[in-house]
C-alpha cells in the first residue's frame, strides 16, 4: 500500500490525497503548539494559538479588522483592476502583432526587473502618501508581469485556428474578437488569478511605508507595540483573503470554460 503511494506519477485515492494535506496542516499546528504552550519560545515573540484566536475575535468585534480589510481590499482591487484593464488589451496586442511586441516587450521586460517597492520613495515624492500612491505600488507590482504573461498566453493560441478563420472569411478585427480572444480567455483568467495573488504581497509593502490604515499598517503598528498575536492575525487574514480570491477565480474558470472538460460540466 505504502509503496504504491510513493510510486512516481501513480494515482492515489482521493481520501488519501485530502488527508495528506490535512495532516501537513495539523503538523504545523502541533509544531506551533509545542513551541508556544511548551514555553520553548518566549510568548513575547511567539504567542499561543489560543491567544491569536482570541485577538482575532477581539479585532473582529471591535471593527478594527473589518475596516482595515475594507481599506486594503479596495487598494488591491483598484490597483489591480487598472493594471488588468491596461495589461490585458496591451498583452493581447503584443502577443498577436509583432510590431507591438517589438515596441513594448523590451521596455516592459526591463522595468519588470525593477522592484516595485523601490519606486515607493519616488511615488511618495510624486503623488504623496494618499490612496493613489498605495494603488500605484500595486499597479507597478503587477502590471508588467501581467502584461508579459498575457502576451505569452496570446502567442500560444494555435496558429491554425487563426489561419482557418481567415479561410472562413474572418476579417482582421474579427480574428481578434472571434478567435484570439476566446482562445486566450482561459489563460487570461488564470493569469489574473496568479497576478492577483502577487497584488496582496505588494499591498503589505505599500502599507508598511507611510500608511495610516490597512492591514499592512495594522501589522506594522503591532510590531511597534510588541503585539506578535496581532501581527500573526494580520498575516493570516491576508493569506485567507488571497486564498478566497484564488478560489473565486477558479470558480469563474470552471463556470466559464466547461468546453475544456470532457464531461462538459
Amino acid at each position: 500500500m505504502l509503496a504504491k503511494w510513493f510510486t512516481p506519477n501513480k494515482e492515489i485515492p482521493k481520501s488519501v490525497y485530502t488527508s495528506a494535506g490535512l495532516i501537513t496542516f495539523l503538523l504545523f499546528l502541533v509544531f506551533w503548539s509545542v513551541l508556544s504552550y511548551g514555553g520553548i519560545v518566549n510568548p513575547l515573540f511567539l504567542p499561543t494559538p489560543t491567544v491569536v484566536l482570541a485577538t482575532a475575535i477581539d479585532l473582529l468585534f471591535n471593527g478594527e479588522l473589518l475596516s482595515n480589510i475594507g481599506i486594503s481590499f479596495t487598494r488591491v482591487l483598484v490597483g489591480f483592476l487598472v493594471a488588468a484593464l491596461i495589461g490585458i488589451p496591451l498583452g493581447i496586442l503584443m502577443g498577436s502583432l509583432k510590431i507591438m511586441e517589438g515596441a513594448f516587450e523590451p521596455i516592459i521586460g526591463f522595468i519588470r526587473y525593477m522592484p516595485a517597492s523601490a519606486f515607493i520613495p519616488l511615488l511618495i515624492l510624486w503623488i504623496g502618501l494618499g490612496e493613489s500612491e498605495k494603488m500605484s505600488v500595486i499597479f507597478l507590482g503587477t502590471f508588467f508581469q501581467l502584461t508579459l504573461m498575457i502576451m505569452d498566453v496570446t502567442k500560444n493560441v494555435q496558429n491554425e485556428l487563426i489561419e482557418v478563420s481567415y479561410t472562413l472569411g474572418a476579417k482582421k478585427l474579427q480574428v481578434f474578437t472571434k478567435v484570439i480572444l476566446p482562445a486566450a480567455l482561459p489563460g487570461i483568467v488564470d493569469t489574473l488569478r496568479i497576478t492577483f495573488g502577487w497584488a496582496w504581497t505588494y499591498l503589505v509593502v505599500a502599507e508598511i511605508v507611510g500608511a495610516s490604515s490597512g492591514l499592512g499598517y495594522m501589522i506594522m503598528q503591532a510590531s511597534r507595540f510588541l503585539q506578535p498575536d496581532k501581527i500573526i492575525v494580520g498575516i493570516l487574514i491576508i493569506g485567507l483573503l488571497g486564498l478566497l480570491t484564488d478560489m473565486i477565480f477558479k470558480a469563474i474558470y470552471r463556470a466559464s470554460f466547461s468546453w475544456m472538460r470532457k464531461d462538459g460540466f
Binding site: 494555435q158 491554425e160 485556428l161 489561419e163 482557418v164 478563420s165 481567415y166 479561410t167 472562413l168 472569411g169 474572418a170 476579417k171 474579427q174 472571434k178 478567435v179 476566446p182 482562445a183 480567455l185 470554460f257 466547461s258 468546453w259 475544456m260 472538460r261 470532457k262 462538459g264
Partner: protein, 269 residues
Amino acid sequence: MVTAATMNSPLIGTPKLEIKDVGKIFKTKSGETTALEKTSFTINDGEFVTILGPSGCGKSTVLRIVAGLEEATSGQVLLDGEVINGPGPDRGMVFQSYTLFPWLNVKENITFGLKLNGVSQKEREDVARHYLQLIGLEGFENHYPIQLSGGMKQRVAIARALANDPKILLMDEPFGALDAQTRNIMQEVLLKAWEESKKTILFITHDVDESIFLADSVYVMSARPGRLKKKVPISIERPRGFSVKGTVEFAAYKEELLSLIREESLKSI
C-alpha cells in the same frame, strides 16, 4: 474515361483553378532554398485532384499558396479567372491538425463562417442540419470538440468548410493523424460529400491508396526542390466504394504511383 467531373460538370474543361509558374524560395542564413520550383497546372470545375508526394516535397506549400496563407515568390494563382490575393472564404481549407474552435460546439463550428457573414439564425440552423446529416453526425450538434474523436473532428472540419460554400475545397493531409480504419471511412465520407456538393477539391496526401481512391487526377510531386513530376488520371468508375481498392485496376495504378514516388522518397532520405 468517365469521371464524375466530366459527368457532373456542365463547364467541361473550364479551369476552376489555374496555377501559373508558382514558385517558392525560402531565404535562410545559409542562402536560398527552393521549396517549390516554378509549377503550373489547372484544376477543372468539380474535379477532385490529389497531390501525392513524400514528406518535405513542398506539397503543402502549394496548397498554402492557393489558400493565400503563404505568398509565392513567383507566379500567380487564378480562381475563376481572378488572381487571388490573400486568404478568403472562396477557398475553404481543412488542415491536418485539429482546428475546430474548442469553445464552440459542433453546430457553432459548422456555421462559424456563415455567422461572420451575418446569415440569419434560421438559415444557419438549416445549413447546420444539412451538413450534420451529410457527415453522419446528427445528434452531436451540441457536443464540444473535446468530446469528439479525431475522425469526428475532421468530419466537422469538412462540414465547416463546405457550409461556407467555397468555390474550392483545399485539404492538407486531413486524415494524416487518423488511424487506418478511420481514415478509410473518412475517405468514403468525403467522396459522398463531394458527390453531393459537386465542389472542386485539391487534396494533399502522402498515402498512395488514398490518392487513387479519391482522385480524378493524381499529381506526383518530386522532392528537393519540389516540382510536379507527373499527372496520372484515374479512370476508375464512380461512385467508388471501398471494394475498388481490391480491384486489378486499382492495383495497377498503385504500382505505377508507388514506383514514381519511391524514386522521390529515396532521393529525399
